[in-house]
Symmetry: C2
Subunit: 450 residues, 2 copies
């Protein structure tokens, strides 16, 4: 049932491609789901994928296109004429077609659009190209089933049959007025269980959730998830029904958001995958490492300032990485919880309450850890009483400060409109390293007086 | 349109509760979506939420229950008799009802089940209780529309009308044989566009995706996402149709998985939220901090071993946090990419290729960073040539080792069946801190000969 590409299958396909054995290839791929074929494409060399693409039916290849990674899709499309691309897009839903067109170079874009056969379809696609990919307009498809509030159910069913031909999944039937303004909805189930003689205006549900064309993707996702919706209509500034967003698009948005946040927390600033090129991976990773390196310069400089302590209290320097590590870990924990709370909209209460809570929490954690540190440094490491006093006091202070930084930096970023996820990962560990070391040696100076 | 709870609304509701003004409360909440009311519940004190719960209609409260956080739900249910709980559950879909029952204490569980009115519903719920919550059986609902392959379309439509009454969203109509074995599916759309005189066996689609009752949740999510499914049938060991999983459940699974991975990467080991109690938060955070602390002990001990270097090369100790931080950051980046690749099933190629790639990548990053380190420590920090040689060599070596650890530890964990996400966050930073320091001072010893 669950399809996994076997090594044998891949080898076989590669052999057939080399032998240009189109017949065997067609037999092999004929029964496969387009998502599986797309997965095979990703495993092949681009020239092999292009070869396969050309021998497959355009009904199949059209479905494969949106599933591919952008760079492979680009390579395949480069080998096709504008007319050939247009033929593929004629088979696709408007949202997928618009996404693919928007990736083409400007010149080819226009050529492809002029080659589209179905004029209505072409108009819809051009309309979608106007919207940003991060808003509902860029996510929606034009395909939907709508009926006029003034119709009878009989007209409605007839009309719907025609409309439904072009819609992959119906979900809801939207009700509009003569100006195409969204008025309500009808569920397919209602239609299935209602007598055909009823009048539309009597049966439709006036309460209907909708989003606007400029509603951000993540907000659309939040609404659809909260209200368990499988499709949501999109209206323009005048309240006219212009499209709908379906749950499968939202699943992709959620996946991308989660991946992005996860990567940011790990200090990776672009959407990359393990199989991307070394150059892409470096571009995504290096900036954060450079940031951390400059943070490191500051900590080197700071430690140099406390050089005087080395004469009588060299152990202090042995404990520096421990203190820095604890500060980093606590900061990442606090920021992660806040970033998630902001993303899931589950933060409540005032800033002051949060401050009190974070201080209590880190005091509790700090004291427990300080006790372990006390026992460990006394029995395991054999440190002196004064040093132990210094490091335990420093640990508790550092933990409190680190958790406060971890809590309030993302909140601040969010306030000023910057993605709070930037505040996790290298940024927070680096700043906590620096703060931690500064606090640690300041306390040491106070207690030990060097 | 998008509902946000205003402070004023909350204050108003709290006032009405205090005044026991049930009439106003009903007016206020009457028009609201149950998901919004659930959100209000979360903002109230438990006794207030319980009060509201009791004055609302059971049709509404039943829908609210599955939306609540587990601890609030528990508090509310504690105030209800078994009969009252059963009345709520009678209104719910089998999957939600089973989830709620499974949280009850054993004794109450049995009482509630015996109080359920609809026997068929009760049987379905009990059946669902057998499955683990992490597998398809624990995720599925019993509500679905199925028809027998031997029926005519006419019988089918009649039967479906009855069945559809109990099913919130129809999605697909499943076709079974006399033994209830899944044979194929019919789409609602096909039914809408096909003449009613056709025979079932002529129109149904024999190819149907399905999962088994013991298929893990994450695998179900992967399949539904890959094939863009909105519902998938679940079969038992004998191939009999026992339920279906719908996309809204999958959206929740994906959200939970993403949150869990994100938290693990940040060193938080349970599913917690910013608004959880200090004790819950400590339980989730402290273990990782203790781990990091013990890692710290090792680094303190190791640094002590290199005490001899302090006499002539004290700058070495100033650079320790910098080296440790770079090791930590590189390790987290590498592991995050692997963990995501494993989760998304996008890792390809052999281990050896991955090794080569990771070494080249970190060599490239390492050399660039070493050049910056060279310039910085020469011009900004005024370090000596020998020290600069030491720290740059150490930086490159540490980056290579850290990225190899970050790459292969999660791969190894995955191999032996442990969640690779455990290898990100504190675990990888701590072990990289230790390795980094050891490599750094070993190289220093080699070059400077102390």
């Amino acid at each position: 049932m669950q399809f996994k590409i076997s090594k044998e299958l891949l080898v076989q396909i590669e052999q057939f491609i080399q032998q240009k054995n189109d017949q065997e290839l067609e037999v092999l791929l004929n029964e496969m789901h387009h998502a599986d074929i797309a997965e095979i494409f990703e495993e092949l060399e681009p020239y092999q994928a292009t070869y396969l693409f050309k021998i497959l039916d355009s009904e199949v290849t059209a479905e494969i296109l949106p599933e591919l990674e952008e760079d492979l899709r680009e390579k395949i499309l480069r080998g096709l004429s504008a007319k050939e691309i247009a033929e593929e897009l004629d088979e696709l839903d408007t949202d997928d077609a618009a996404d693919i067109i928007s990736e083409l170079p400007q010149r080819k874009k226009e050529e492809v659009i002029s080659e589209l056969e179905d004029l209505e379809h072409a108009k819809d696609i051009v309309d979608l190209l106007r919207y940003d990919e991060d808003e509902a307009g860029g996510l929606m498809e034009k395909e939907l089933v709508k009926v006029n509030e003034n119709w009878t159910v009989l007209t409605c069913v007839k009309e719907m049959r025609t409309q439904a031909e072009n819609v992959t999944r119906v979900h809801s039937i939207y009700v509009v007025d003569d100006e195409n303004r969204l008025k309500g909805r009808l569920s397919l189930k209602d239609l299935l269980t209602t007598s055909t003689k009823t009048h539309i205006s009597e049966v439709y549900i006036k309460k209907v959730d909708y989003v606007k064309v400029h509603t951000p993707n993540v907000e659309v996702a939040r609404i659809m998830q909260k209200y368990d919706l499988e499709a949501i209509p999109v209206v323009d500034e005048m309240g006219r029904l212009v499209g709908r967003v379906t749950i499968d698009d939202i699943v992709d948005v959620m996946k991308e958001e989660a991946d992005k946040d996860y990567q940011l927390a790990a200090g990776i600033s672009q959407d990359v995958e393990a199989d991307d090129s070394i150059l892409d991976l470096t571009r995504a990773r290096l900036p954060w490492l450079v940031l951390a390196l400059f943070g490191g310069f500051i900590s080197v400089h700071m430690l140099g300032l406390f050089e005087g302590a080395m004469k009588n209290h060299k152990e202090l320097f042995f404990f520096t990485p421990l203190i820095a590590a604890m500060a980093g870990n606590v900061g990442v924990q606090s920021s992660a919880i806040i970033v998630q709370g902001l993303a899931n909209n589950t933060l409540s209460g005032s800033l002051f309450n949060r401050l009190i809570k974070e201080v209590s929490l880190s005091l509790l954690n700090g004291v427990i850890l300080a006790i372990i540190l006390f026992l460990g440094s006394y029995f395991l490491l054999g440190a002196s009483t004064k040093i132990i006093l210094t490091i335990t006091t420093a640990l508790i202070s550092v933990i409190i400060i680190a958790s406060l930084l971890g809590t309030f930096v993302p909140l601040l970023l969010d306030k000023i409109g910057v993605d709070p996820a930037l505040a996790t990962g290298p940024f927070i560990t680096t700043s906590n390293d620096i703060c931690g070391i500064l606090i640690y040696f300041s306390i040491a100076k106070l207690i030990l007086g060097f």
